[in-house]
């Protein structure tokens, strides 16, 4: 009976993911997920060995209240941090469950204290290891996304060698743990894994965060899997595998969006450093500056506008003002669409959620492959808070660090408007030659303020 209920729960989780294939079916999917979770929890509460309903109920209420409070209060621009924080909790919970199984193996029928089955010990320590890495890696990713820790990659000598040695040390500790089942070694594994989690994320820069967040998502799944094997629980194994696969695919999509291998991202150190040679070349070039009125004029006289949002839009919270601008343009009979680069923002799909929040219809929001061939037929590209993802150097300059990265071909549209705070380079540290083109107008200022000013000029 238990196995059947767990199976139903696992199937509902699969349907939950399946629902996300389309916005219309996605809400039903979320409900499937919730039902699946309720079934899983109540099935477990029905176990004969589970007696302390009050304590468990209180724990669920406390956790649930905290989770609900955070989820309802959070600004959509802060989603990446929130997701990173949540991943850290999954990792930590995995460590605690593994520890609980280690201290009371009878409750999980995996043996007795001091004589736990070898297979269970191996699975338990792997679950602990992945859980602890997920925990500390996510905490650091949270800090970088939140801005409490500098987003710049921190690189030092022998970094990868040290990480590799720590990894070997953990394997050695796991072997030792399986042999003597000592609590001291268990906690040493936890601490060393936490250290490794920090060291793995430290060299990775802010713009690479979409990959890191996806990777940690994947790890949290594998941690659940590890616990699933320890407890011989198919529901945990299936769910963990689903989540692990999901995170892995997202990491793959994100790294492909930057034309870099996952390994390259993980090794880190990308971005943050100023590429002085490139910026010097352009110091004497002329930049055409404009103001909100110029931008309003240019767009008002166009037939079609493609808006390219980037992380800068999220930082400035400009999505609402931007949508207002789009609405006015649409009323004028201008075709307005949005082009989303796979790595725009700080997590997969970040821009889509922000635009959805501002009530932009999702039919108008298109992915790179869907819209890229439309740029030559487009009069105005309005780039707001994005830079590297439009840089033609990715196609032409083989020496550029972003060479080979798929870009949005805004250069092919008749004119380009760039909303930027300053001439600073993007995260790759590469100068963007588009800024100096004749048909480019730079609009310097805060993205939100600029959109509001354009709206004023348009309605004047």
């Amino acid at each position: 009976m238990v196995a059947i209920l767990y199976l139903i729960s696992a199937l509902l989780f699969i349907f939950a993911l399946r629902g996300l294939s389309h916005p219309e079916s996605s809400r039903m999917g979320n409900i499937f997920g919730i039902i699946g979770m309720i079934i899983a929890v109540f099935t477990t509460l029905m176990f004969k060995s589970v007696l302390s309903y009050y304590e468990i109920g209180a724990a669920i209420l406390i956790g649930g209240a905290i989770g609900s409070f955070i989820a309802l209060r959070i600004e959509m621009t802060a989603l990446p941090q929130l997701v990173a924080a949540f991943h850290s909790l999954v990792g930590l919970a995995a460590v605690f469950v593994a520890a609980a199984a280690f201290y009371d193996p009878v409750a999980f029928s995996i043996g007795k204290v001091g004589s736990i089955k070898t297979a269970s010990l191996v699975e338990m320590s792997i679950g602990t290891f992945i859980g602890a890495i997920t925990f500390s890696g996510s905490v650091l990713a949270f800090g970088k996304l939140q801005g409490t820790i500098s987003g710049k990659p921190i690189v030092f000598k022998f970094q990868h060698l040290i990480n590799a040695l720590i990894f070997l040390l953990i394997i050695f500790l796991i072997v030792l743990f399986v042999i003597n089942q000592s609590p001291t070694i268990f906690w040493t594994i936890v601490i060393v894994s936490i250290l490794l989690g920090f060291l793995v994320v430290i060299p990775i820069g802010g713009a690479d965060m979409p990959v890191v967040v996806s990777m940690l998502n994947s790890y949290s799944g594998w941690a659940a899997c590890g616990i699933g094997f320890t407890l011989s629980n198919n529901l945990l194994i299936i769910t963990g595998a689903l989540v692990g696969a999901s995170g892995a695919i997202l990491s793959y999509i994100m790294s492909k969006g930057m034309n870099r291998s996952i390994i390259n991202v993980v090794l880190g150190g990308f971005g943050g450093e100023q590429d002085t040679s490139a910026s010097k070349d352009n110091s004497d070039k002329i930049v055409k500056q404009g103001n909100a009125e110029d931008a309003a004029y240019i767009m008002k006289n166009a037939d079609s506008v493609i808006i390219v949002p980037g992380y800068g839009m999220a930082v400035a919270q400009a999505q609402h003002a931007l949508r207002e601008m789009g609405d006015i343009l649409k009323k004028e009979g201008i075709e307005v669409r949005y082009a989303i680069h796979p790595v725009a923002g700080r997590m997969p799909g970040h821009m889509n959620v922000l635009l959805a929040e501002a009530n932009v219809p999702y039919e108008e929001v298109l992915e790179l492959d869907e819209i890229n061939h439309d740029f030559p037929m487009t009069e105005v590209s309005f780039v707001i808070g994005a830079n590297d993802v439009t840089n033609p150097a990715a196609k032409t300059d083989e020496s550029s660090p972003i060479f080979g990265m798929p870009i949005l071909d805004v250069e092919k549209s008749q004119s380009v408007l760039f909303v930027k705070r300053s001439m600073a380079t993007g995260y790759s540290g590469v100068d963007n030659e588009l800024f100096y083109r004749d048909n480019t107008t730079m609009l310097f200022g805060d993205a939100k303020k600029m959109c509001e000013d354009i709206v004023k000029s348009l309605s004047a």
Binding site: A93, A245, I340
Partner: protein, 105 residues
Amino acid sequence: MEAHSSEVFVIGLTVFFLACIIGYYVVWSVTPALHSPLMGVTNAISSVIIVGAILAAGPQGFDTSKIFGLIGVVLASVNIFGGFLVTYRMLSMFKKKTKKTKEKE
């Protein structure tokens, strides 16, 4: 029991690989626009480790294992409620505006 443990492991491994394959196909079918909600949902469902935490917290009395279990239940609950709720919030945004545009039309 001991004799069966390797068999149990193989069954677990079978389930694991089949689930990975299902995950692979299901996740590739997710539209890129919904990748953020995907992370929200996966985050919520990965907290199904609450099952393990409840088992640990289950027995009466208080020992180390039970305390760990209860902490696990709290942590996982934060994620379950938070994950599903934040996903709900994201997805309802994708709903609102389609309705509005339809009304406008």
